[in-house]
């Protein structure tokens, strides 16, 4: 029996240990997160009982932190798809240890993206009216459709890639065997089953990529389809997608680093993984800068008074501190760290990523709120200062996300064991064959 167990675990014991071993660190983390979630819950109950008056929102500026959260969380969800689906399609082998961690980020954070909109509603008890009386001319309905599709496809992808690992846990026996047995769907790891799974995962990976692009484009359309100054811009579609991948990859880097430290995965998530993803993040930094620059230079050159009033409020006016802070966090700090090879250590890449995450939240805020101040018709003194309710709900959402993530790692392995093993056993040969197929034929002429 023990031999059987040893055979299944093989040399990857550390990948199972975070399921079996629960240390002090885990309980402390869960307690802190639980307390923050309760704080967020208390804030929401306060809002539910008194109305949105408990926020800093007003007749002039009626969208704020909650809608920023919505765009921000949906943006982060793009990481998972990028790393697990796009890298799989591109046959990048270094995605193997991090594909499940990033896919999980996508699935869980999408729930909070949707949740943020529902939290923002004046009548959340009527939320199903958007489905019952749906107006398909409204970009919000396009959002409902695309995000539902994205959540469905991502969840199925996550589950499919989990099946072989669930089967491993089932074979190890123990208390939870019945649970894994049900979920493993009778997986026995035969050649034909692997082929079918491979086809299914490949199909899902290709399907989810256009869905991912649609999702954040449609989220941007909520703003771009209005005729408000600095919202009504054709660039918003691709701009938001780029921003999403940018903030999402930064989030996954932080998740990778935390998991690596907490669960001692140094042997599996190596500096080379961080280096590769760091280079990609640098490319995204430059791409994000390009879109931001293109957006603002066209506004400045056009010099239309209505647009310029809001532009100046961002650059030198009321929103200048937030605008410049976001620019420093999104561009000035990360770029040197990521661009210079010597600086691309794991710690520094994580610092750059945290800077980008904070900066991108501010970027969404700075896109949404200044347009609502409508400089020309502005009510005197209209300014937006979020209250403790809005901040608590933001903190609560993030904490609940981390909490759900942590609980997941207690039930399933976070590094896909079967993909690592496939990498060990087959990938080296497959990649060599592939590279050889690119090279010119060698003439093996007899001497």
């Amino acid at each position: 029996m023990l031999d059987q167990r040893q055979k299944i675990i093989g040399e990857d014991k550390i990948l199972f240990e975070h399921i079996w071993k629960t240390g002090k660190g885990f309980y402390i983390t869960v307690s802190i997160l639980g307390a923050l979630v309760l704080l967020g819950l208390y804030a929401y109950v306060t809002q539910y009982r008194n109305g949105l008056t408990v926020t800093g929102l007003s007749r002039q500026i009626f969208w704020g932190v909650y809608i920023t959260n919505f765009v921000f969380f949906i943006g982060i969800s793009h990481a998972g798809t990028f790393i697990s689906a796009v890298l799989r399609v591109l046959k990048a082998e270094w995605r193997r240890p991090i594909s499940r961690a990033s896919e999980l980020t996508t699935v869980f954070i999408l729930l909070f993206g949707v949740g943020s909109v529902l939290i923002d509603l004046g009548r959340p008890d009527r939320m199903l009216y958007a489905i019952r009386y749906a107006n398909f001319r409204s970009p919000l309905l396009w959002d409902v459709c695309s995000i539902t599709m994205y959540l469905t496809v991502s969840s199925i992808s996550l589950y499919l890639a989990l099946i072989p690992d669930i089967a491993l846990l089932r074979d190890l026996g123990g208390k939870r065997e019945w649970f894994y047995r049900i979920l493993s769907l009778g997986w026995t790891g035969t050649e034909s089953q692997h082929r079918r799974l491979e086809r299914a995962i490949n199909f899902m990976s290709i399907l989810v990529i256009p869905v991912m692009i649609t999702v954040h484009t449609v989220v941007s359309f909520v703003f771009a389809m209005t005729i408000q100054p600095l919202w009504h811009s054709a660039i918003f579609g691709p701009y938001f997608v780029v921003g999403a991948i940018f903030s999402g990859v930064a989030s996954v880097i932080v998740v990778m680093a935390v998991l690596r430290k907490a669960y001692h995965l140094e042997n599996y998530i190596k500096p080379v993984h961080f280096n590769n993803i760091g280079i990609f993040l640098m490319a995204m930094t430059l791409l994000w800068f390009y879109f931001t620059f293109a957006e603002y230079i066209t506004i400045v050159y056009g010099n239309e008074p209505v647009h310029m009033a809001i532009f100046w409020s961002k650059l030198t006016g009321k929103f200048a501190p937030l605008f410049w802070l976001h620019f420093i966090l999104c561009f000035v700090i990360p770029l040197p760290i990521l661009a210079v090879r010597r600086f691309r250590t794991i710690r520094r890449i994580v610092v750059a990523s945290i800077s980008i995450i904070l900066g991108m939240w501010l970027e969404r805020f700075v896109i949404i709120v200044p347009t609502l101040t409508k400089q020309r018709m502005a009510v005197e003194g209209a300014f937006y200062i979020p209250t403790w309710v809005e901040w608590s709900i933001l903190v609560g959402c993030i904490s609940l996300f981390i909490l759900l993530y942590t609980l997941f790692t207690k039930v399933f392995p976070i590094v896909p064991i079967w993909e690592i093993r496939e990498g060990r056993e087959k990938a080296v040969r497959m990649v060599s064959e592939r590279i050889e197929s690119y090279l010119p034929e060698t003439d093996v002429a007899p001497q």
Binding site: T53, S58, R59, F62, D120, R123, R126, A130, R132, Y133
Partner: protein
């Protein structure tokens, strides 16, 4: 009377006469039957609009709020007392803010700061209607942009869509902030959007909007644009007509004449 066929026919005849007596009396007497609800075709024959005569409005005493007070009183619009949460169906802004495209550096100062009455423009091509995810706001055939307070989910997307800032949101329960509740019009609950509705409930009773009625200077003219003999068509003849941001293509139905 013998109970044979003849007898039966006599009794049947008398019964029928008795049954017909009351309805017949009603038909031929002058009792008013309720009018059927307006159909889409009958509504489409009308196009409601309003003209604001600025010179007449400015001839009133300073700080005149007759129209605003009448509207807010009749429609149970609460007074929340803060700029943050105010709800206003009709209000005034200085001229230079309403029509920023009119050149001010060279023109006189007399009317730059004069108040201009603002309300929902009841656009022919309304942006707000497009964005509502539940169709809680829609355009009636006679041009009025309607609100269904029971369907609104409070997402405030219509507020984001309106380029004129005509809509207000109930951030809290408004009931305690209404001075004298008018029992003939519903109050709203927290979490829904509201705006001027061209007094659609008064129009149904053949009355003109409350603001038009309340203006002592007769600065507001309301009527049917499709009726060539209406007062509003008369007011719009041979004058320069201003609208708020007409270049946006919303085709607003509130006109300003100076």
């Amino acid at each position: 009377m013998q109970f044979d066929r003849r007898g039966f026919l006599k009794i049947a005849g008398l019964t029928a006469l008795g049954l017909v007596a009351k309805p017949g009396w009603e038909v031929f007497s002058k009792i008013d039957l309720p009018e059927p609800s307006p159909t889409a075709e009958s509504l489409a024959k009308i196009r409601w609009a309003m003209v604001v005569d600025l010179k007449k409005c400015w001839s009133a005493k300073e700080g005149c709020r007759d129209c605003i007070d009448a509207c807010h009183r009749i429609h149970n619009v609460p007074n929340l007392g803060t700029v943050k949460e105010e709800i206003k169906w009709v209000w005034t802004e200085p001229y230079e803010k309403v029509f920023p495209e009119h050149e001010f550096e060279l023109t006189g100062e007399e009317y730059q700061h004069q108040p201009v009455l603002l309300l929902c423009n009841q656009c022919d091509d309304p942006p707000c209607v497009k964005y509502c995810p539940t169709r809680a706001t829609w355009r009636r055939e006679d041009g009025i942009i309607m609100m269904d307070f029971h369907r609104c989910i409070g997402c405030r997307y219509c507020m984001a869509g309106c380029p004129y800032g005509s809509r207000s949101f109930n951030w809290r329960d408004p009931r305690s902030f209404i001075k004298n509740i008018n029992l003939e019009y519903p109050t709203r609950i927290r979490g829904v959007v509201e705006k001027c509705n061209f007094c659609v409930e008064r129009l149904a009773q053949n009355k003109i909007p409350a603001c038009v009625e309340a203006c002592k200077e007769k600065a507001l003219v309301f009527g049917d644009l499709k009726d060539p003999k209406s007062e509003i068509r008369e007011a719009l003849k041979f004058k320069t007509i201003y609208q708020r941001q007409p270049e946006l293509g919303t085709k607003p139905k509130v006109y300003y004449i100076l």
